[in-house]
């Protein structure tokens, strides 16, 4: 009976996972309007997502990538936002966050909004 319940729960979870859109789709819907489908951004208007690897070098930089308003306030739950962040880092910046962003980390960071995103960005990059 216990095994059957576990199997049922696993099937439900698999079903839920299959129903969620791939991170690439979430990227198109929530990011590409400004950053473009290839992450190139708009020179002088929207920063590119192609060179974000240096942010992962420090805890402040890693936190910045979640706390920046466009990410923290996206209409996505924590788990989907974490998957999207990992996808953007891998696909656009060729970097794998270690450890990967997960729902718990994203939940804590997005609850702590940035007052001055520009200053936080410069600070995270040591500028």
């Amino acid at each position: 009976m216990r095994n059957a319940l576990a199997l049922g729960a696993a099937l439900v979870l698999c079903g839920a996972a299959a129903a969620a859109p791939a991170p690439g789709e979430d990227y198109l819907l929530h990011c590409s309007g400004c950053h473009h489908a290839d992450g190139a951004g708009v020179p002088g208007v929207v920063p590119p997502l192609t060179g974000l690897a240096p942010f992962l070098a420090t805890p402040a930089g890693r936190a910045y990538l979640v706390r920046v308003p466009g990410v923290a306030q996206a209409a996505l739950d924590d788990a989907r936002l974490a998957a999207l962040l990992n996808w953007v880092m891998r696909e656009m910046s060729g970097a794998d966050p270690h450890p990967a962003y997960d729902a718990r980390e994203v939940h804590a960071l997005r609850a702590d909004p940035l007052r001055d995103a520009r200053a936080a960005r410069a600070s995270a990059l040591g500028r």
């Binding site: 789709e25 198109l28 819907l29 309007g33 708009v42 208007v45």
Partner: protein, 182 residues
């Protein structure tokens, strides 16, 4: 004799109309009426700064195929003038207008194949406002207080010219999950 009278009378009256004080008054009247209309003419020049207003084509029934209607499926979150009515198409700006590099992305349901598609709404900039096919459907633009879900923005702020002309609705992918109306 009567015919001659009538013909002479007409000729004299016509001469009087062309040359007399009544002709002068008639021309003056035409000039005044024409002058009254003059301030109405430069609408296109001043309208660039005016707020957007719904056009006469709003809410025409029919969803499939006709890009010149607001009910065209790709226009589900359109807020502006459909470029297909302005010399462009649903996905291309009219000649002389620049597509805004930044836009708003949502999803629309295509009744022809029953699938949802991801649509990028961009504004075309650098020409005076089009004024035709003013659409204001805004589906998926919810909740209103969520700033990233708000499409009521002139995206020409990201273009070389701030002047808004019309909007395009470009298919950028297929959506497995329709944009929720929260």
């Amino acid at each position: 004799m009567t015919d001659l009278d009538v013909r002479i009378e007409r000729a004299v009256r016509a001469l009087a109309r062309r040359t007399g004080r009544r002709a002068f008054l008639a021309r003056l009247g035409a000039l005044l009426v024409g002058a009254l209309g003059l301030p109405l003419l430069p609408i296109a020049r001043s309208a660039a700064e005016s707020p957007r207003a719904p056009g006469p084509d709003e809410n025409i029934p029919g969803k499939e195929g006709d890009q010149t209607h607001c009910d065209y499926w790709r226009h589900c979150a359109m807020d502006g003038f459909a470029c297909a009515c302005c010399g462009g198409s649903a996905s291309t700006c009219p000649p002389g207008a620049e597509k805004s590099p930044v836009g708003w992305v949502g999803s629309c349901h295509n009744p022809a194949d029953g699938k949802d598609y991801i649509i990028s709404y961009n504004d075309c900039c650098g020409k005076g406002w089009c004024g035709r096919c003013g659409c204001n459907r805004n589906e998926g633009e919810r909740p209103d207080y969520h700033w990233v879900r708000n499409n009521d923005i002139n995206w020409c702020v990201s273009a070389k010219s701030l002047v808004y002309h019309c909007s395009v609705a470009i298919v950028v992918g297929q959506a497995t999950e329709p944009q929720p109306e929260r």
